[in-house]
Symmetry: C2
Subunit: 508 residues, 2 copies
């Protein structure tokens, strides 16, 4: 009786509403529709929607305007439509979702209890399946923020995130990867490192993230040069052909729970050591890597602010890595200022191109950092004997093999292209002469975001005066790039309302 | 230049979309509209919308279907429309909201820092003004959950919540109030206590909440008997005429930040000692009370589970009360089972009516508890000498003065009415003979909610067998009430899938 009650009469014709609610799936139903009445659904109810063998959970928005929907129709937001993949006009079945038992584990964590493997797996499974509303995701993220996950919980979260998605395997015994823990604008070493090590016949199936709280993620930058939305089959082909790739992790869905968490982490702007470790390592393990170099930047306005914090985080990465079968090597580097000149997807891509092409004006800091990381990977993999990594990496970069490999990777990913140029720019000059004594990376990132990065790919800024530069009064310090006058205005307004992002000291 | 850029060209005609998104305001704009392009707005952007002197912040849903909106139109959800109150077809101005600086305080709290008076006031001010998205509210609630607010932070939160709303004052020097900290189904003592003390000429301007995580709040129950959505002016008239009232706190908006927090607390289902104290005391102080009796129920499945926890919470209420000018007396009582028989708004109202009318079948536990609280208030206020409160309260209840006063209060609030009766009921019987040895209040509440309470006012359950009852096999234990077959089915399905809510012991 229960089953017949739930299956047959609860079907409605489905319509694509053409409303983009970002990634939270929303379902629209008429207030006077028989299912709302019989099931007691109301605005904000969570509803299971079934289309043949697929089902999703969506949040209900109740429609009072009879012109938006027919009485026997239900509407889906863009995200819900993509997830459920119904036929337009076909019938879907709506019902109450089963109670989410894993939310009681989230509550336990909020109240200070520890989460074990089973509880973490239940939470991550429900998250990956899209069963959590945004406020539940927010509560989980908040409960795990800062250093609230201990080593065992971090391992449990990492394992759960690996297990809930696909896991690639490769014929080669050694598969390498790298990751930078930053909070530093710029810093697109990946786009230089991958072609260097791939040119030396190592396998590096690199998946990168889009920006979470920064003005550009590596995937955003790469996308200005080549497609990054490859599925697993396409990614595999690229790696089989070229040895390496740089694709968006969210598109290959190697750690689907992480992708769901990120969409709420971004507007919350919260850091979590445990989630950082789980996010980084789950993606590496799922991509089939077993040797990973992790670069931790330390600086007063970087994500990691002290050597002690870097050491703690590094050890956590090594320990959890060991638990999930990853050989992790940690490199701690200076993070007191941006790497390269550009901040924002296209502007960072230009820095990368200059380094790969060996242009004289290429930012040396980006080149040096990329070589150092490539060297660590080469030595760790056994490809190059200890002490020779740097020379070998530099040789591959300088003789054009890396640039050739990068172009080949872009071609394999769907074709190389030129980064866009912003429609509006504004040059900020030094109010007086002086030496650059500090740069606030957080406010710099904020400025680039207000200018439109990363969504406006050409937006962001160029920093003309790195730490230590002696500037004259009126000399350009920053150029702000924007695609829309509104965004340029907001960025400049922010710049004026704050103390200087680039601080000048005495004139010597 | 910035001002003219932001004000004039960013106006659109406004349309009421007829979409109910519950309380989170949503704004709809076409993807191809000039403002989305020039401002860089996209799905999930937070947007300030101005209508003459009013302005709100809403979340953007981007419309791709050109039939939903004209190019120069923007749509508002029901909540956004109610808050902004525009003229249909009038023009509203859309812009980026100023950055919410108070979110950095929320982050600091998440990371374990303490919040001072200034930070708490900034957070509460932004929350009351509707500037927080639901995920930000969720993060704040989570960061304050359990016992994460210390005494000073709790006082700061309470003060901020009082200061952000209106605060009533009364001519009488002594103004009394009561509150029950429950987690216990049933327990509608307020509806008995207010008429008793008001009949004795004390002033008791009672505001009550709707259900947060329970199947019924006092306001939900009272609403089945009389209107409770009174504004402050209407509430004042009722109290001036009858000495007491029982109205919904959300409608008088005495603690507007609390009302905003509650809408996210409900689906999160999280408890917070600090927020509980602030929520209770801010409403009492804002209502102009100065003598408050707080009843803390202790039981294995009540909100407070041990005498130690009750003592801690009670002391916190007394201490914070003193800081904000409230004389608080705490009464700790048994919370091992529901109070009265009904669980759900209308079913609880029937228990109240039976007690007030002095019916023989009236639940004695509800009567005794109400008398005890009324006695504490009478003695604390000085109205009755110590030791005589219980006799005096019983006299007023037994001779019909309290029932007469209750009817007068209902009339003053807009007219008394009969509670609704549910369309569907199902009787659950004892599988065997035995004595009732325990009742799981949490699962009982869950069952009533699955049956549709509190939104379906007649839904819920009746418990026929309190603790200690000797039942025969086949004897009715529970009756489940529902307004819709779907809800009845879900409630019964939940009942079957769980261990017994009412546990029977040996047959002696």
């Amino acid at each position: 009786m229960t089953d017949s009650h739930r299956i047959s009469p609860n079907a409605l014709r489905v319509r694509r509403m053409g409303i983009d609610t970002y990634q939270e799936p929303v379902v629209y139903m008429r207030a006077d529709c028989h299912i709302c009445k019989s099931e007691g659904f109301e605005a904000q109810s969570r509803i299971t929607i079934r289309n043949r063998d697929r089902s999703i959970i969506a949040t209900l928005n109740v429609v009072h305007d009879q012109q938006l929907l027919e009485l026997d129709e239900t509407g889906l937001s863009e995200a819900a439509w993509r997830l459920l993949r119904p036929d337009a006009g076909g019938r879907v079945v709506l019902s109450h979702p089963a109670p989410l038992e894993s939310l009681s584990h989230v509550r336990a964590k909020v109240y200070g209890q520890r989460l074990g493997d089973i509880e973490m797996a239940a939470i991550v499974g429900d998250i990956a399946a899209g069963r959590y509303a945004d406020i539940h995701l927010s509560a989980f993220i908040t409960a795990c923020a800062g250093s609230r996950l201990d080593p065992a919980e971090t391992t449990a979260l990492t394992r759960a995130m690996i297990d809930v998605g696909d896991r690639l395997s490769w014929p080669e015994p050694i598969v390498v990867d790298k990751h930078c823990v930053g909070g530093l604008p710029g810093n697109r070493t990946t786009l230089v490192v991958v072609p260097i090590v791939a040119a030396l016949s190592l396998t590096m199936p690199k998946t990168s993230s889009r920006a979470i709280t920064s003005p550009a993620g590596t995937a955003d930058t790469m996308e200005t040069l080549a497609p990054v939305n490859l599925d697993i089959a396409a990614m595999r082909k690229v790696v089989e052909r070229e040895g390496g790739c740089i694709v968006w992790g969210g598109s290959v869905q190697l750690s689907p729970a992480d992708d769901v968490l990120i969409r709420v982490e971004r507007p919350l702007d919260l850091d979590s050591e445990g989630q950082l470790v789980a996010s980084v390592l789950s993606k590496k393990a799922a991509a089939g890597s077993n040797h990973v170099v992790i670069d931790i930047r330390v600086g007063p306005t970087a994500k990691v602010r002290s050597d002690v914090a870097a050491k703690t985080l590094g050890q956590r990465l090594i320990d959890v890595g060991r638990e999930v079968g990853l050989n992790v090597r940690v490199v701690v580097t200076d993070g007191s200022q941006p790497v390269g000149r550009g901040v924002g997807p296209a502007l960072e891509a230009r820095d990368v191109l200059a380094v790969l092409r060996g242009e004289k004006t290429a930012p040396q800091d980006l080149r040096v950092r990329a070589l150092r990381l490539a060297a660590a990977i080469l030595e760790m993999s056994g490809k190059v004997s200890p002490g020779n990594g740097l020379d070998e990496a530099a040789a591959v970069l300088d003789d054009g093999r890396a640039w050739k490999k990068f172009q080949a990777i872009c071609d394999a990913q769907g074709g190389m292209r030129e980064p866009r140029v912003a429609a509006y720019t504004h040059v900020v000059t030094a109010p007086r002469a002086g030496r650059v004594v500090s740069i606030d990376n957080r406010r710099l990132a904020r400025l680039a975001k207000l200018a439109g990065a990363p969504k406006a790919t050409a937006a962001g800024l160029e920093l003309h005066t790195p730490l230590g530069t002696q500037v004259a009064a009126g000399q350009p310090v920053l150029t702000v790039h924007a695609d829309a006058p509104g965004e340029l205005a907001y960025a400049l307004q922010y710049l004026e309302s704050q103390k200087p992002i680039v601080t000048l000291g005495d004139n010597r």
